[in-house]
C-alpha cells in the first residue's frame, strides 16, 4: 500500500513539475509585455518599465528565471502578482476555496445524480423510462456548460426570478444576517453554477453507471443474489451497484479536469470569484507568477482527483487493493 502510494505520488509530482515547466515556458516565451499594474503602464516610460522588469528579474535569461522560480517554489514561495502587487499565495488563496466549493458540490451532486439516473435506467432497461433518461443524459453530456449556465440564468434568474444572477454574495445584504444568513446567501448564489456543472457531469456519469450496472447485472453473482431471494432493489443496489461502484468512482475522479474546465467557463457566466476568473484575467495581463501558480494548482487538483479515485476504488473493490 505504501509503495503504491509512493509510486502514485511520484507520478503526480512529475506531472505537476511538467505543468509548471510548460506553463513557465509558455508565458515567458509568449509575445506581450506584463502589464505591471495599469496605473504605471499608462504613464510608464521605458526606464520605469526596465526598472520594473529588473525588480521582478524579468531581464535575466529565462533559464535563470526558471531556476530562481523553482528555488522559490521549493521554499513555498509563489512570488508576487505583477498586476495586483500582492503575494500570489494571497491572490489565489482567496479564489481557490470558492472554486473548490463550487467544484466539490458539483462533483458530489453529479455523482449522486448520475448514479441514481444510471441505476433507474439499468433497473428499467429496454423500457421507455430507460430511453427517455438515455436521451436526457446524452443531452446533458452534450450540452456546452457555459450555454446551459446562460439558459438556467435566463429561466431561474430572470424569468422566474428565484435565484440571484451573479456573484457569490449579495452585496446589498444587511450586516446583521449572521453566519447562517451569510451561508444561505452563498448557497443561493451557488445553486445555479453548481447545477450547471453538475448536470453536464451527471450526464457522463449516468451513461457510464448504466453500462457498468448492466454489465454487473449479467454477472453470475447477481444470479446468486437473486437465487438467495433478495429483492430486485437489493440485488441492484447491494450486488450490482457495489461492483459497478469502482469504475464509476474512477470516472468521478477523472472528471476533476472536466470540472475545472467547466468551472472556468461557468465562473465567467455567473461571475463566481474563483480560480477560473483569476487565471483568465492573469493570462491576459501576462501576470506570469499567478498563471504559473494557477497551472500548478490545477495540476495538483487533477492528480489528487485520480489519486483519491484510486483509493476509493481500493476501498470499493477488495481485489484492487494493492496489498491484496
Amino acid at each position: 500500500m505504501l509503495g503504491f502510494l509512493a509510486r502514485r505520488l511520484a507520478l503526480a509530482a512529475l506531472t505537476v513539475l511538467a505543468v509548471v515547466t510548460i506553463t513557465f515556458a509558455l508565458v515567458h516565451l509568449a509575445p506581450g509585455e506584463p502589464m505591471l499594474g495599469n496605473a504605471e503602464r499608462m504613464r510608464a516610460d521605458s526606464a520605469t518599465i526596465a526598472r520594473q522588469r529588473a525588480r521582478f528579474g524579468l531581464d535575466r535569461p529565462i533559464a535563470t528565471q526558471f531556476a530562481f522560480y523553482l528555488a522559490n517554489l521549493a521554499r513555498g514561495e509563489l512570488g508576487e502578482s505583477f498586476v495586483r502587487h500582492r503575494p500570489v499565495a494571497l491572490v489565489l488563496g482567496e479564489a481557490l476555496p470558492n472554486t473548490l466549493l463550487l467544484g466539490a458540490v458539483a462533483l458530489a451532486a453529479s455523482f449522486l445524480l448520475g448514479v441514481a439516473i444510471g441505476s433507474v435506467q439499468a433497473a428499467r432497461r429496454g423500457t421507455w423510462v430507460d430511453g427517455v433518461l438515455s436521451i436526457g443524459s446524452l443531452a446533458c453530456y452534450s450540452t456546452p456548460s457555459f450555454w446551459l449556465g446562460l439558459v438556467l440564468l435566463l429561466v431561474f434568474g430572470q424569468q422566474l426570478g428565484w435565484l440571484p444572477v451573479a456573484g457569490m454574495t449579495d452585496p446589498a445584504a444587511p450586516e446583521h444576517v449572521g453566519p447562517l444568513g451569510r451561508a444561505l446567501d452563498v448557497l443561493r448564489h451557488l445553486l445555479l453554477p453548481a447545477a450547471t456543472l453538475a448536470l453536464v457531469n451527471a450526464g457522463a456519469i449516468a451513461r457510464f453507471e448504466r453500462g457498468a450496472l448492466v454489465d454487473a447485472l449479467g454477472a453470475e453473482f447477481v444470479r446468486t443474489a437473486r437465487a438467495k431471494g433478495l429483492s430486485p432493489a437489493a440485488v441492484l443496489v447491494k450486488h450490482a451497484g457495489r461492483s459497478a461502484l469502482a469504475p464509476v468512482l474512477t470516472l468521478a475522479g477523472l472528471s476533476v479536469p472536466a470540472l475545472l474546465t467547466g468551472s472556468v467557463l461557468v465562473e465567467s457566466v455567473f461571475g463566481w470569484p474563483g480560480m477560473g476568473r483569476v487565471t483568465y484575467e492573469a493570462i491576459f495581463a501576462r501576470d506570469y507568477n499567478v498563471v504559473t501558480a494557477a497551472a500548478m494548482i490545477a495540476g495538483i487538483l487533477v492528480a489528487l482527483g485520480s489519486l483519491l479515485a484510486d483509493l476509493a476504488v481500493a476501498r470499493a473493490d477488495p481485489r484492487q487493493r494493492p496489498d491484496a
Partner: protein, 281 residues
C-alpha cells in the same frame, strides 16, 4: 460476411445511431451549403440601430443580433468553424494517438513503458488550461493552429486505448499463427491494423463532439477564431450581454451546438456498439 459488413448491419438497425448519423449528415450538408441556405450575409449589418435585436419573425427566422445581423445566417456560417475544428482535429488526434499506441503496443517493453509513462503524464496535464493560455497569450490564433493545438493535446487517450487493444491482440491466437508462419513485425502490424481501425473510428467519432464543445468553450472566452467571423462560441458570448433583452442571440447557436454534439455522440455510440457487439447493450 466480413466483420465490417456485419457491423454495418448492426448499425443500420440501431435507430438512435441512424438518427445521429442522419442528423450529423444534415448538419454537415447545411454547413457546406450555408451560402445557398443563409437568407443573409452573416457579416452584413443592414441597420445597426433600426434592425438590432429583432425577435424571431418573418423577416429574420431567428431574429437579429445587437449589430442587426441575421442570427440564422450567422448560426449556419458558425457551423463551419465548429465542424472544421471538430472533424479535422478528431481525425488528426486519432491518427497521432493511433500511431503512438500502435508503436508502443508492438515495441520492446522498455520503449513501450517510456511512451506510456509519457502519455500518463500528458493525460494528467490540465489540457484546457494550457490551450487557454496559448490562445490567450498568442492573440488571434489562426484556424489551422487551433486545429493543430487541439489535436496535439488530445491524442493521449486514443493512444492508450489502441495500445491496450494491440497488446490484447498480440497475445491472441491469430497473431501467434501469423508469427509462426514467419510474419515479422510489419506482417503482424498488417494483421492488427483492421482490428485497431475499428477502435480508431469509434474514438474519432466520440471525440468530435468533445472537440466541438472545447472549441466553443474557448471561443466563448473570446479565444481562437476572432469576430466578426461567426463561431457558435463567440455568438453565445455576444448574446450573453443581451441575454435578458434578446435571448435568441445566445439560444440559437447553443441549440445548434447541442444538436450537433448529440448527433455525433449518438453516431459514435452506435458505431461502438456495432463494431464491438460484446459491449452493446
Amino acid at each position: 460476411m466480413s466483420p465490417w459488413r456485419l457491423a454495418w448491419r448492426r448499425l443500420r438497425v440501431n435507430r438512435a445511431a441512424v438518427a445521429g448519423g442522419v442528423l450529423a449528415g444534415l448538419i454537415a450538408l447545411a454547413t457546406i451549403a450555408a451560402p445557398l441556405l443563409a437568407p443573409a450575409d452573416p457579416l452584413a449589418q443592414p441597420d445597426p440601430v433600426g434592425l438590432q435585436n429583432l425577435p424571431p419573425g418573418a423577416g429574420h427566422l431567428l431574429g437579429t443580433d445587437g449589430f442587426s445581423r441575421d442570427v440564422l445566417s450567422r448560426t449556419l456560417y458558425g457551423a463551419r468553424v465548429s465542424l472544421a475544428v471538430g472533424l479535422l482535429a478528431a481525425l488528426l488526434a486519432v491518427l497521432v494517438g493511433g500511431g503512438v499506441g500502435f508503436a508502443a503496443g508492438l515495441s520492446r517493453p522498455a520503449v513501450d513503458r517510456l511512451l506510456m509513462r509519457g502519455v500518463d503524464v500528458a493525460l494528467a496535464l490540465p489540457r484546457v488550461f494550457l490551450l487557454l493560455a496559448v490562445f490567450a497569450l498568442w492573440e488571434g490564433v489562426p484556424l489551422a493552429a487551433v486545429i493543430l493545438l487541439i489535436a496535439g493535446t488530445g491524442w493521449f487517450e486514443s493512444s492508450r486505448l489502441v495500445r491496450a487493444h494491440v497488446r490484447s491482440l498480440r497475445d491472441s491466437d491469430f497473431v501467434a499463427a501469423a508469427r509462426a508462419l514467419g510474419a515479422g513485425r510489419a506482417g503482424v502490424a498488417r494483421h492488427l491494423l483492421p482490428h485497431v481501425g475499428a477502435t480508431l473510428i469509434v474514438c474519432a467519432t466520440l471525440d468530435i463532439g468533445n472537440i466541438i464543445l472545447l472549441e466553443a468553450g474557448l471561443s466563448y472566452l473570446g479565444l481562437g477564431v476572432q469576430p466578426p467571423t461567426p463561431t457558435w462560441g463567440n455568438m453565445i458570448l455576444e448574446g450573453k450581454d443581451l441575454l435578458f433583452a434578446a435571448p435568441w442571440i445566445a439560444l440559437a447557436p447553443g441549440l445548434a451546438l447541442l444538436f450537433t454534439v448529440v448527433a455525433f455522440n449518438l453516431l459514435g455510440d452506435g458505431l461502438r456498439d456495432a463494431l464491438d457487439p460484446r459491449r452493446a447493450r
